[in-house]
């Protein structure tokens, strides 16, 4: 697929969203609500469950997959409360030595008057700081759209993975084309230039690995094979991260991001 086709495909409503992956991978999932400051942002779903035998905190940006659920989840564009709920539960995970899994699927943090007034930039900034030093293993997976700061806010992790048809970018190709070339019909050219596909980003060592995406068209047997593979991989990574002393883990995470764009 061309880069821009990947971007367009990542926005399809019939794709698996965060809740689908949670259903597939996590047992006994209990959703928890609220940021304890203002409200409960439904663009972010978060809770505790088990990945195989391992208790885990899961945070996902949820788009929903029909018009009713898409409206309910604000099309996966979080307000500051969403990031604050995520931070609250990450700290709770750290307190109880539980690892964290983030599932990212957002065109971007919500751009609205209320979101700005409640500190969208501050919420993302705080999340980046918190995650950079969280003393528990964090794995993030970009499962669809990885749109700019709103996606990055949950992507600071020990392992950052992407599905093979997801994208991760500083700007949407449409906005990039509009800003640089005054016309969004060059979005395909912008998508190429931004190097935003999983393959491009793996090559540049921004992400650690690429996983296959799940398909609603699969039969039960295929889904089970897929599920086993993904669970085994995640379990193995959590196992090796859990063995590291917390300070070494944080130090490793620092170095991982420190080297990006270093001269």
């Amino acid at each position: 697929m061309e880069a821009y086709d990947i971007v367009k495909n990542s926005r399809n409503a019939d794709r698996w969203c965060a809740s689908d992956y949670i259903k597939l991978l996590i047992t006994d999932f209990l959703e928890l609500h609220g940021d304890r400051k203002y409200g409960d942002d439904k663009a972010v779903i978060a809770g505790i469950g088990k990945l195989l035998d391992r208790p885990i905190t899961v945070i996902g940006i949820e788009k929903g997959n029909d018009i009713v659920s898409r409206l309910e989840h604000n099309f996966g564009s979080a307000h500051p409360e969403g990031y604050r709920k995520a931070m609250r539960l990450m700290k709770e995970a750290e307190k109880f030595g539980r690892p964290v899994l983030c599932l990212i699927d957002t065109a971007g943090a919500y751009a609205g008057v209320d979101a700005e007034e409640r500190g969208q930039g501050q919420a993302i900034a705080e999340s980046l700081m918190l995650m950079s030093s969280l003393r528990t293993p964090v794995i993030s997976i970009i499962i669809g759209e990885g749109g700019s700061g709103g996606a990055l806010a949950l992507a600071v992790s020990d392992r950052l993975y992407m599905l093979d048809d997801a994208y991760f970018s500083v700007v949407s190709p449409e906005n990039c084309a509009t800003i640089l070339w005054k016309n969004n019909k060059y979005a395909d050219k912008a998508a190429d230039a931004l190097k935003l596909t999983a393959v491009d980003l793996k090559e540049r060592e921004i992400i650690d690995d690429v996983f296959k995406t799940a398909s609603s068209a699969w039969d039960e047997k295929t889904i089970n094979i897929y599920k086993e593979k993904l669970l085994t991989k995640l379990d193995k990574e959590y196992e090796s991260l859990a063995k590291m002393p917390a300070l070494d883990l944080v130090d490793m995470r620092y170095k991982k991001y420190r080297r990006i764009g270093r001269v």
Partner: protein
């Protein structure tokens, strides 16, 4: 008057009134014509409408730091076209010519009111202060040096956000700098940010909003998303003063709004009052 001619046009906001009359600039907010020399003496504040117009990084350093105290670091670092993005080399070349800087931030060690500190000042005439790898790297180094020497950091921001031409590398600078700010914070050291017009996008959503004390210039636009994007979701006219520093302060995200004439005094005083922490609690 004696400075006249030393500085070429400072930025976009101060357009030359005409090719022939180079001594006069037009205020981008109220449209008044102001003598360049008067504007410079008035710290680039429009005498008619009090607009704090864009100002070069080096001029800010001159005004804020104690005389001859500024020692620049990492001056020579220059951007590369990491992604092979079309047209980026030309943009860098033009930005260098226009700004006479190698990148969109100037970093160094200095003293303010006798207090040693590290300072980074973003440069508006270099691609609107956009954050690419070198901006991220230089600011990160600034914090790392400050940690080593147990010193506070003052950051003066002006930025349209991340630099698109560096794609994911520019986005990742938000993480890199944030991690360094966190280490500086954990070391018990003071970080102050002074937000100037505009401080938006990826800079707002990282080190601009991470300071212990957040200062801003009057009327500075401070926010995450651009007004045009927000208008699309809001579907009516944005409220008066939306994303202006005064309104952002009302929302609880800015500590103090400071005119350019007060900045040095107040920053020096804040540094004084944090000295215990600077000296490691003694």
């Amino acid at each position: 008057m004696k400075f006249q001619g030393l500085l070429k046009p400072a930025c976009n906001s101060l357009e030359d009134e005409s090719e022939k009359n180079l001594d006069v600039r037009v205020c981008s907010r109220c449209g008044s014509s102001v003598l360049k020399s008067d504007l410079r003496a008035n710290l680039y504040i429009c005498p008619e409408c009090n607009a704090h117009l864009m100002m070069r990084a080096r001029r800010r350093i001159e005004i804020l730091c104690d005389k001859s105290s500024f020692v620049e670091i990492d001056k020579g670092m220059e951007s590369e076209n990491l992604l092979g993005f079309p047209g980026y080399e030309d943009k860098i070349r033009a930005a260098k010519e226009k700004s006479r800087e190698n990148e969109a931030v100037v970093c160094g060690k200095a003293r303010i009111g006798g207090n040693p500190l590290y300072i980074f000042v973003m440069e508006p005439s270099f691609m609107m202060g956009s954050m690419g790898s070198i901006v991220g790297e230089k600011i990160t180094r600034c914090f790392e040096k400050a940690i080593e020497e147990k010193l506070p950091v003052l950051g003066i921001t002006v930025s349209g956000g991340a630099r698109m031409q560096e794609g994911i590398f520019s986005l990742m600078q938000m993480t890199k700098v944030s991690a360094a700010v966190k280490r500086h914070d954990d070391a018990g050291l003071l970080y102050m940010a002074l937000l100037t017009n505009p401080t938006t996008g990826g800079v707002d959503a990282s080190f601009a909003m991470q300071a212990d004390i957040i200062l801003a210039e009057p009327g500075a636009r401070v926010g995450f998303a651009g007004p045009r994007v927000i208008e699309q979701t809001y579907r009516k006219k944005l409220p008066d003063g939306f994303q202006k520093a005064e309104a952002v302060m009302e929302c609880g995200f800015i500590d103090m709004i400071l005119s350019r004439f007060d900045q040095k005094r107040v920053i020096a005083s804040l540094l004084d009052m944090h000295k215990e922490e600077i000296d490691g609690g003694i």
